[in-house]
Amino acid sequence: MDGAEGRALPVDLDREYSRRNFLKTAAWATAAISAAGIGGFGVANRYAEAQTAPYVTYQGLGDAAILQFAYLLEQLEGTFYAIGADSGLFTGNALAQIAELRDHEFAHADAIASTLGTLGAAVPAVPAFTFPTDATASAAAFLGYAATLEPVGIGAYQGAAPALVSKDILAAALSIHAAECQHWDAIKILNGVSPPNNVALEEALPLGTVQAAVAPFGITG
């Protein structure tokens, strides 16, 4: 996190990041972080620190803010898989899966954007994402990053779901969550994990952990 230490990373977020140490985000060391925009979530984040259930960290944000954050996550994932699909690293079944994941993530983003429109809420501008320089160094490197990214999406949806107010939006979020879990399984298959379905209970992540995990890519909301 060399490039990030000199910046105004919120203390609560930083502590959450260190404490959980759930993701190997140190690998994204050269990525830039901007604290702009984090403040809106920070209030709920601090409120939630004393709590235990991850969903508490999303409560009070409102469906629109949660969806706006989810939209950026989907755009990030879709862009990541698009890079992978175009990298020339994958062929055959692996390429078919990477391209499918790309399409899923963008389909999720489109569905979320549509819902935001229905809510009368703004669709966030997609930032210029920053990816680690070695992400496409090899198929193994790319899949390694994919294996750390997918649990973030899973954890975000699973964590946020109980905080959603609209039952219709909840139903959509649960479906997308299930798709993300299938993505992770597919990545584990490509990584040679056997059996790939090696989790009995998926893990929800607190908002701060998700924010810290995706901040190095350029998501600052």
Partner: protein, 231 residues
């Protein structure tokens, strides 16, 4: 009023055995589980918004018991699985044990009593070969995901919903793991996994409750319309 007239006796609710009993349960929209009246309440829930979390959990529990204690053990004991297929199925069986325990714990935490599961069996045809079983297992795992997606939005307690999400994610992974074994390319191929109605869930379970095949619980019909069409 017809629903009242056709309500099966309590004994049949506890352990439906005959096709007629199952048909009655399904026609009423009652769970395969003993005493569950989830779907019957769903009709009123559309206006009142009230469906008990306990009912939902007790609808889901017998399904996990079926898979963890009957369906997957039968395949593991049948000698039809080998290699990665055996490993994946063994893993699923262990996962479903965890899920059944989690649901039972959740029921107790809400002050309820875990329902007793009806008697299940596995038709011989399902155990005829690895391929046959994996195809059947895919249907079951997709049913699990569909059930959770259908019921999830009806859950009132955020803690119960959080637990349901943790469970459903694993079921979703099971789907992809089985698709991979079946040679589906790519194995993760659903951008929006579909929800199922309780009737659809029951229809998938019916062949494992002593019925030779799926009868007339409403059949595979578009989500949301099955129970309503019958009356």
């Amino acid at each position: 009023m017809r629903r009242e007239a056709e309500k099966p006796e309590v004994g049949a609710l506890a352990r439906p055995r005959t096709r007629r009993e199952i048909m009655k349960l399904a026609a009423l929209g009652l769970g395969a589980a003993a005493g569950t009246s989830l779907f019957a309440k769903k009709a009123s829930a559309q206006t009142t918004g009230v469906v008990s979390d306990l009912d939902i959990l007790n609808f889901l529990l017998p399904n996990e018991i079926f898979e963890s204690q009957v369906f997957y053990p039968a395949a593991l004991d049948a000698g039809i699985l080998s290699g990665a297929a055996y490993d994946v199925v063994a893993q699923i069986q262990e996962i479903e044990v965890v899920h059944a325990a989690a649901l039972a714990d959740a029921i107790v935490s809400l002050g309820g009593t875990p329902v007793e599961a009806p008697e299940f069996m596995v038709p011989e045809a399902v155990l005829a070969s690895q391929q046959a079983f994996l195809e059947a297992a895919l249907v079951q795992e997709q049913k699990d995901v569909g059930a959770n997606l259908g019921l999830g939005p009806m859950i009132q307690s955020p803690d119960i919903l959080a637990a349901a999400g943790a469970i459903n994610g694993a079921e979703a992974e099971n789907v992809t793991a089985i698709k991979n074994l079946l040679g589906v390319v790519p194995p993760a191929n659903e951008p929006f996994p579909a929800a199922l109605t309780q009737d659809e869930v029951l229809a998938i379970l019916a062949p494992y409750m002593g019925m030779g095949s799926m009868m007339e619980t409403g059949g595979p019909a578009p989500a949301g319309g099955v129970g309503d069409k019958r009356y």
